[in-house]
Amino acid sequence: MNLLLALHISNLQLLSFSLFVLLTAFVSYRLKLGLEKSLLIGSLRTYVQLLAMGFALVYIFRYPNPVISLAVYIWMIFWAARIISNRIENPPFPLFKIIFVTMLVSYLALNIISLGVFLRADSWYAPEIFITIGGMIVGNSMNAVAVSLDRFFADLKNRREELEQNLLFGMKVKDAMNDLVRDAIKAGMSPSINNLAGVGLVFIPGMMTGQILGGEDPLNAAKYQIMIMLIICVSTALGSMLVVSQVAKKCFNKRGQVKF
């Protein structure tokens, strides 16, 4: 039961919010920040991409189908893996495949467990849950994985002497890499852990805000938010750990030497 009247946004009202963006762009121009172009293009993309997604989801929800649910999921992970691998400058080897496969397998498992075991949804592919939660998982952990990988490759360069000293002491690759891998995973996870502590005190999370504005009872919205935040926390951990450890393994040859 909705306690509040859902706020309905008309197209004109939605469009009027772009005035804010125009104002910001103007300020950016006056202060010579040079951000106007990316700000305007970014806002335009937000309108187009989200509305397109909204339209698509209406149809996908109306006709639930496992193939379509899976296809959307794979599509989201494909883009996430592309964005992450493009964000790493000069990777020593192509990263896309390793990220794509790792994220697909681990997040799919996580998503299906969440739906089937914890939420007991009617079907594992129920699109209104499968795709939305999947989107939250992929979107949030994309950042974590990118931060982790970024940190890992930076450390592989900056902390090379430490790593080599570990190897010279006769440590196995896994043990010699331990600190680097751990620090990379920590770097990726700390934003979502910080969120866990700050949520409800410092800010009302975006999803909850959206739900409340959409007419949901705040308590119910909070319950959803808790579930989502925990799933996101697990998925950022899982994504960072699996991707970084896969990538770390690939950096060594069978003699235990760094390949580049």
């Binding site: 002491f169 006769g170 440590m171 003699r255």
Partner: protein, 212 residues
């Protein structure tokens, strides 16, 4: 440890540094390899310690190519020119690798005996190793490697950038304590080793080694 180089070549990005190097370092021998900067002396040590891989050729250790690289690296300690010192105490730096390999950590008395030898100026086991001087770090790294009881000690430019006192202390320690190891020094300048007995001096160039 007997170290045989067989047709060892090093040509990064096609630029030949040395090629077809053949030589046998006998077990427990003492060697000094000299040569101009860039002739591949230091690289040779990284290949022997199997930290990196030569372009072609083999390195045979006691009759066979190493299979267990961790074991080989532990047995063949490479002392780099600027050693890496962990941001921990002196004690932790000395015991880290021993603890990793589950080897017995020497008693405090034993450690202090070594420290007195290498650090006549005095050094406390609980001092933070990062705060030591360059020469002290080098001596600490030497002791750290020595405690692992390696079969070979590879010393990269031990005298470069070191004060006279540090160099003297390190050399004395090596000559008095490391008789059961194959010791290879690498240096681009003349060393004061002439007076040492049983010392093989080699000049390294593109063509290979030449006795001095």
């Amino acid at each position: 440890m007997k170290i045989e180089l067989r047709d060892l070549s090093f040509a990064p990005q096609g630029k030949v540094v040395f090629s077809q190097l053949n030589y046998t370092f006998t077990s427990n021998g003492n060697y000094l390899i000299q040569g101009p900067s860039g002739c591949g002396k230091s690289s040779l040590l990284t290949f022997i310690s199997s930290l990196r891989q030569a372009s072609s050729g083999q390195i045979i250790i006691d009759g066979q190519e190493p299979v267990n690289f961790c074991e080989h690296r532990k047995n063949c300690q490479w002392l780099r020119q600027t050693p890496y010192i962990y941001d921990k105490t002196v004690r932790e730096n000395l015991s880290l690798a021993l603890a990793y390999h589950q080897l017995a950590i020497p008693s405090d008395d034993e450690l202090k005996k070594h420290l007195q030898y290498l650090f006549p100026e005095g050094l406390d086991l609980e001092e933070r190793a990062m705060e030591l001087s360059g020469g002290q770090k080098h001596r600490l790294a030497l002791l750290r490697s020595y405690l692992l009881k390696p079969k070979a000690l590879l010393c990269d430019e031990i005298s470069a950038g070191l004060d006279e006192k540090s160099r003297q202390l390190s050399e004395d320690f090596i000559f008095n304590h490391c008789n059961e190891m194959t010791v290879i020094f690498v240096s681009h300048i003349q060393e004061s080793f002439e007076s040492r007995e049983n010392f093989t001096r080699l000049l390294m160039s593109k063509e290979g080694f030449e006795p001095l």
